[in-house]
Amino acid sequence: MRRTKGFTAVATSILKWAVLVFFLLVALLPLCWLVLNSLKTNLELQTSPFAFPARPAFENYANAMAMANLPRLFLNSIIVAVGTVFLNLLVSSMAGFVLAREEWRGRDAVRTALEAGVLVPIIAFMVPYFTLVTKLGLYDKLYTLILVYAAINIPVSIFLITSFMRAIPKELEEAAIIDGCGFFQRYARVILPLSRSGLVTAGTFCFIYAWNEFVMAMLLTSSLSSRTIQLGIRFFTSQFITDYAGMFAAIVISMAPSVIGYVFLHNKIIAGLTAGAVKG
């Protein structure tokens, strides 16, 4: 009887680990393959795509940087991502404050409408955004991407930030009122600093989105001056030849900021996602 019980436990454990390892492999294998191949020559890549490189070809990275004007694209992406995060957090935190802390008629309806934006696929916005951007004369501008990315992320950010702001005790705001704070001071000096975790979470999502975005960037820009790194990678492919090794190196470089950002901030992100789940 005891042996059967022990056997079941071991079997369950093995099954559990097998499933976890499977998903880990599904997630990590392409990444490892990518990094590995970024260190091969183009010849090695084509002849033995799954073997280890005979000699790590670090020059792929140097080539990638030189070839596709990568530093410029990197800078563009940083400007877009940082600008998006700043603009998105500014707008979403202000909206979040009014939605979470102020009482007004129709508040819930407005909040639901804004948060429902999460459910609309971004692809559905392509035509309206393109029409709007070209009509407004904003086509092929770096700041257009900032505006569009910030706007696309507003529903998610508002959702995350309001849930944080709602958890702040009412008395803190009342203490601020008694201390002499007006509407803006309450937002800027009390509620905003206390929503830090929510802002970090929303900001990270926003950054990763802006950094990785491809479709809108392709749709709304054309010249090098407003090209982001994800778009730049596409230019490793030409009509007759593709520099896969260089492309892989460029992809690894492009992934670095999101991965590093997540590694440093993942505690805050998880806290942000589970805010309000339990009484703190």
């Binding site: 005790p169 008395e171 803190l172 009342e174 203490a175 601020a176 009122i177 008694i178 201390d179 002499g180 704070c181 007006g182 001071q185 000096r189 009390v190 600093p193 206390l194 830090r196």
Partner: protein, 373 residues
């Protein structure tokens, strides 16, 4: 100078829920007034209306003779201490205390002086660089009080500031707040549901129930002259005993008949009870006024009862007893050795007895609604 006057103040929430009804309270300069009552009696709402955190639906609120109904909280020159301290978690103790002054653009040197002075008074000088989460409950409460002190306001408002502290700390902080009142010579309004806090701290108590002010007066006046059965039962611990008795007019002599015992009221009380002849009234007697009858009789008569529970507290005994139908509690000296099931006879101090109309629950003996009025 800070006199706070509430004239016919009322608060009605959405859905026609009336939280405060026609409150008329005058709080004189340098007074320590305690609003006391059970949960939901409107005491906190009244305080919040004074603070400006709630709109006033009806009536007038005056601070120093100036109508402040529509004056925002920051311009009322008040400071408030909240039940859960409401310290800003992202600021140090120093910044928490300085925040209100910074917002008001007080010069830095002046802020520093005031914060350090308040910290010295409250003995929290060593905590100035800490964050609230690094403090104990008592320390947090001190900081919350400090934040109010630095502002040097006309009126201090306290909203159940000690209810989150443990019993021992509560007693200590109670004494400190009283001392602070004496030292600052300021007008303070304090809300609590704890009648012991009200009795020990207030120079004046306002008892509230269901949004209505029941009675206003000094703690002792309230204790000895409760206006109705609710105040009589709320003020004092253990509460006053209420026994239903029938008033009998036996040839001009007024007798209180419970069935199992008969009592003779004090002469001045008897005259007031005469109109109630033939009806039942509530006979109220404080636990300390139930004296154990050593002999077989007493001028006012005896209450005979059976002991149910004996609680020796060291300095005294709380003794629960019951007549065939009605329970009561007595505070008796510690040398009495009673046990559960014993027969006991009390000689009530009839001069101290109170009488309440059974229907209106109002005191039959004349009592002022507002002691100072």
């Amino acid at each position: 100078m800070a006199k706070v006057e509430l004239k016919n103040i009322g608060k009605v929430y959405e859905g026609n829920v009336r939280a405060v009804d026609n409150a008329n309270i005058t709080i004189n300069d340098k007074e320590f007034v305690v609003f006391v009552g059970p949960s939901g009696c409107g005491k906190s709402t009244t305080l919040r209306m004074i603070a400006g955190l709630e709109d006033i639906t009806e009536g007038e609120l005056l601070i120093d003779g100036k109508l402040v109904n529509d004056v925002p909280p920051k311009d009322r020159d008040i400071a408030m201490v909240f039940q859960n301290y409401a310290l800003y978690p992202h600021m140090t103790v120093y910044d928490n205390m300085a925040f209100g002054l910074k917002i008001r653009k007080v010069p830095k040197a002046e802020i520093d002086k005031r914060v350090r002075e308040a910290a010295r008074i409250l003995d929290i000088e060593k905590l100035l660089d800490r964050r609230p989460k690094q403090l104990s409950g008592g320390q947090r409460q001190r900081v919350a009080v400090g934040r109010a002190i630095v502002r040097n306001p006309k009126v201090f408002l306290f909203d159940e500031p000690l209810s989150n502290l443990d019993a021992k700390l509560r007693v200590q902080m109670r004494a400190e707040i009283i001392e602070l009142h004496d030292r600052l010579d300021a007008t303070m309004i304090y809300v609590t549901h704890d009648q012991i806090e009200a009795m020990t701290m207030g120079t004046k108590i306002v008892v509230m129930r269901d949004g209505k002010v029941q009675q206003i007066g000094s703690p002792l006046y309230m204790y000895n002259h409760p206006i109705n059965k609710f105040v009589a039962g709320f003020i004092g611990s253990p509460p006053m005993n209420f026994l239903t008795v029938k008033v009998l007019d036996e040839g001009g002599e007024i007798i209180l008949d419970e069935g199992s015992f008969r009592l003779k009221p004090a002469a001045d009380h008897a005259a007031l009870l005469k109109p109630y002849a033939g009806r039942e009234v509530s006979f109220g007697i404080r636990p300390e006024d139930l004296v154990v009858a050593e002999g077989g009789s007493a001028p006012g008569g005896l209450i005979k009862a059976k002991v149910t529970v004996v609680e020796p507290l060291g300095a005294e005994i709380q003794l629960y007893a019951t007549t065939p139908t009605q329970p009561m509690v007595a505070k008796i000296p510690p040398h009495h050795l009673y046990k559960s099931g014993d027969e006991i006879a009390f000689a009530p101090v009839m001069d101290k007895a109170r009488y309440f109309d059974r229907e209106t629950e109002l005191s039959i003996l004349p009592v002022k609604f507002d002691e100072q009025a």
